[in-house]
């Protein structure tokens, strides 16, 4: 759908910039509330058209990040650029950014259509064009014909869509979404995840999406940043962040992870990459093999989870798919000892806690296993 080309200010003329100028560039961004550093030195570049996610636990500074970009908060220091222009000191109304608020923030005294038209009306877009663009936006979010209703007459999912339509109708450079699915039930949330991806593809707007749900972040994002205490712990594609967590924190926050120490080096390895050896079974070539005692066996349906204590020291969680030739329980019960193997190239070396040991992370990592969190900076 050619949303961008409908308005007179379509971005066709700026297409040449798409590879060069990122939609958002943040440099040295800091924001404190009293003693607490909510955003503690963030550098980030988000290229145009990307679905970018900020993932982190509650209180890690994600909302503050969005509020800084939208202009609701002023940074203590640092620079915010939108499409190459410095907007650090500009008020929200002169930034080409729109926000989908967590509570939707629909104007209760206006109809759905009036809500969607609001941004265009404020910018003095002529009435006829306003109407047609608002209706097009309502169509994109699959709510045609509901324009006359008031927000109180809508369900949670419908309000969510109106909030989205109200933002995308302005064709902003960047769309900010603060846990937009947080208030929806699980089934609706999954449905809306797919919808959001579709809408983002259709309108081609850069999305900066905030969530604390790691599964949501992995399924939706082109790239994501994992936040902890106001800093970016790791930046990369979902595959990179999941398969090669750069720090203990990332490894622990995304999925179940195993952190082991062998020969003074710390590794992480995902539970499903671990091979449990039944009697006489041979491990794949290039594997590291140890003995482990089964502490617990947890049947999950499609898979079985094993909690193990390794002879070489440390705890380990392994997950084994219950395929035809690997039926649940065939490996033995708690208390038994079995062979545990993993391929050397699937164990990733990690730094200690990033804070305080920041410089050592790159030095320690062997080539090819370099933590990917500097990727953004290298692009710029």
């Amino acid at each position: 759908m050619g949303m961008q080309n409908q308005g007179p200010a379509g971005r066709g003329t700026t297409a040449w910039r798409q590879d060069r100028v990122p939609a958002v560039r943040l440099a040295g961004l800091r924001k404190s509330f009293g003693q607490l550093a909510a955003v503690d030195g963030v550098d980030l570049e988000v290229p145009q058209g990307e679905f970018f996610t900020m993932l982190g636990p509650s209180g890690s500074g994600k909302t503050t990040m969005l509020r800084l970009i939208a202009g609701f908060e002023q940074p203590d220091s640092g620079v915010i650029e939108l499409a190459g222009a410095d907007v650090t000191r500009k008020p929200p109304y002169s930034r080409d950014v729109n926000t989908v608020f967590q509570d939707y923030a629909l104007f209760p005294h206006m109809s759905v259509l009036e809500n969607v038209e609001y941004g265009l009306r404020v910018r003095r877009v002529p009435r006829a064009e306003r109407r047609s663009r608002a209706n097009a936006a309502l169509e994109i979010v699959r709510l045609p014909g509901l324009g006359g209703r008031k927000p109180v007459q809508l369900s949670g999912g419908q309000r969510q869509r109106v909030a989205l339509a109200r933002a995308i109708v302005n064709e902003p450079e960047v769309l900010l979404l603060d846990e937009p699915l947080g208030a929806l039930d699980a089934k609706l949330r999954q449905e809306m995840q797919l919808e959001l991806k579709r809408i983002q593809r259709e309108v081609g707007i850069t999305f900066i999406y905030v969530t604390h749900d790691q599964e949501e972040a992995l399924t939706m994002s082109d790239r994501l940043a994992v936040f902890d205490r106001g800093q970016i712990e790791q930046l990369g594609t979902p595959v990179q962040v999941y398969e090669q967590p750069a720090t203990d924190f990332v490894a622990g926050f995304i999925g179940i992870s195993n952190v082991l120490e062998r020969g003074g080096r710390r590794f992480t390895i995902r539970p499903e990459k671990i091979c449990l050896l039944a009697d006489g079974e041979q491990p794949p070539t290039g594997s590291h093999i140890e003995q482990g005692r089964i502490d617990d066996v947890i049947y999950l349906g499609s898979a079985t989870r094993y909690q193990l204590t390794l002879s070489g020291g440390g705890q380990l969680t392994a997950v084994r798919q219950n395929t035809q030739d690997a039926v649940a329980g065939t490996l033995g019960a708690a208390g038994q000892t079995i062979g545990v193997a993993w391929r050397e190239d699937q164990a990733y070396e990690i730094a200690g806690r990033r804070r305080g040991a920041a410089a050592s992370a790159d030095d320690l990592a062997p080539a090819g296993q370099r933590p990917v969190r500097h990727e953004g900076r290298e692009r710029g």
């Binding site: 939208a70 202009g71 609701f72 008020p91 929200p92 109304y93 950014v97 729109n98 926000t99 608020f101 509570d103 923030a105 629909l106 104007f107 209760p108 005294h109 609001y118 941004g119 404020v122 910018r123 008031k150 109180v152 007459q153 109200r166 302005n170």
Partner: protein
């Protein structure tokens, strides 16, 4: 409006469907079987639980009865009295039906009194709305918690002092040789004399009813979530536009509630016109008062007293038609 009704119905319907009280004849099995009296009271409470309206009626009926007897009955007596007359020679009440009192209301003298009263009530209401909004806005959206408490106390403080004392304070300020005149004299404007005039009444009314306007506007403004104002700015609206398109419409119920106070209180007041009024300051209130006291014409006083009631009914209907209570 329609929505709200729908929502109410849904809630009510839901409650009766999901009611977990045992039906008659099926007591909860895990409870020890109560005696006759116990079972009876359980039954009554179950019936009450299911019939929301019955509960509401029983709870409300004592105050409702009180309201009916005291309030409506006295209104009714007044209405009836308005159709009687007074014998001009004996001053005795004559219980014969007549429309003479109402006819007299529509003569020039009384029409101009009614018009003056409505105009004063309207001007005072507008003045208070204009004065109250910035104060309420500051209290609700800018002041710190502590500042808000201080301001709220400051706004309500005058209500603890006697009405008469406050009006007299204004007389001291406004009268010839008063504080205001002295001040203007000092700064070289020369003495002013606005005591005992309609201007004086406008000032005094506006001052006295101001808290009744600030409080509801404050309550309305405080309820507006920050995110709505941020969303407006986010969508490109400058501050003034946000005030006009989001803040004021959402504060409208507060203005409506406040204006009902200021308008009706001004319409019915008789003390301020008596104390501060001048040559052209006959208002509905003090004319009623004069007819009860000096003139001893109770029927005409009653007819005149119906006027503010009718005006307020029109005012409320008008406000409702204008949508002032829609988001209440």
């Amino acid at each position: 409006m329609g929505v709200r009704l729908d929502a109410d119905h849904r809630v009510k319907g839901g409650r009766s469907v999901t009611s977990t009280m045992p039906r008659e004849g099926r007591p909860a099995p895990d409870r020890p079987s109560p005696g006759m009296a116990g079972r009876g009271s359980a039954r009554i409470s179950a019936a009450l639980w299911r019939r929301t309206w019955l509960r509401a009626t029983l709870t409300l009926s004592p105050p409702l009865a009180w309201f009916l007897v005291i309030y409506l009955a006295s209104l009714l007596v007044m209405l009836v009295t308005a159709f009687w007359s007074v014998n001009p020679f004996t001053n005795a009440l004559e219980h014969t039906w007549t429309l003479a009192n109402f006819r007299e209301l529509f003569t020039g003298t009384y029409l101009s009194i009614i018009g003056r009263t409505i105009a004063m009530a309207a001007i005072v209401t507008v003045t208070d709305a204009v004065l109250a909004f910035p104060v309420a806005y500051y209290m609700a959206r800018i002041a710190t918690q502590r500042g808000r408490q201080l301001l709220f106390t400051a706004v309500l403080l005058p209500l603890w002092a006697s009405y008469i004392a406050r009006v007299y304070a204004w007389i001291v300020i406004l009268q010839k040789d008063g504080t205001l005149s002295w001040f203007f004299d000092k700064i070289g404007v020369g003495p002013v004399n606005i005591g005992y005039s309609n201007v004086a009444m406008w000032l005094v009314f506006s001052y006295i009813w101001l808290p009744f306007m600030i409080a509801p506007i404050y309550a309305a403004l405080e309820r507006i979530p920050d995110s709505l104002l941020e969303a407006s700015g986010d969508l490109g609206a400058r501050n003034w536009r946000t005030v006009r398109s989001v803040l004021l419409p959402l504060a409208l119920p507060g203005f409506a509630a406040g204006s009902i106070f200021t308008f009706s209180l001004t319409l019915g007041d008789f003390i301020t016109p008596l104390l501060v009024g001048g040559a052209n300051s006959n208002f509905i209130g003090n004319v009623i008062y004069a007819n009860i006291g000096t003139a001893n014409n109770l029927p005409f006083a009653a007819a005149l007293a119906i006027v503010p009631i009718v005006i307020m009914i029109c005012y409320l209907l008008g406000a409702r038609a204008a949508g002032a209570f829609r988001s209440m």
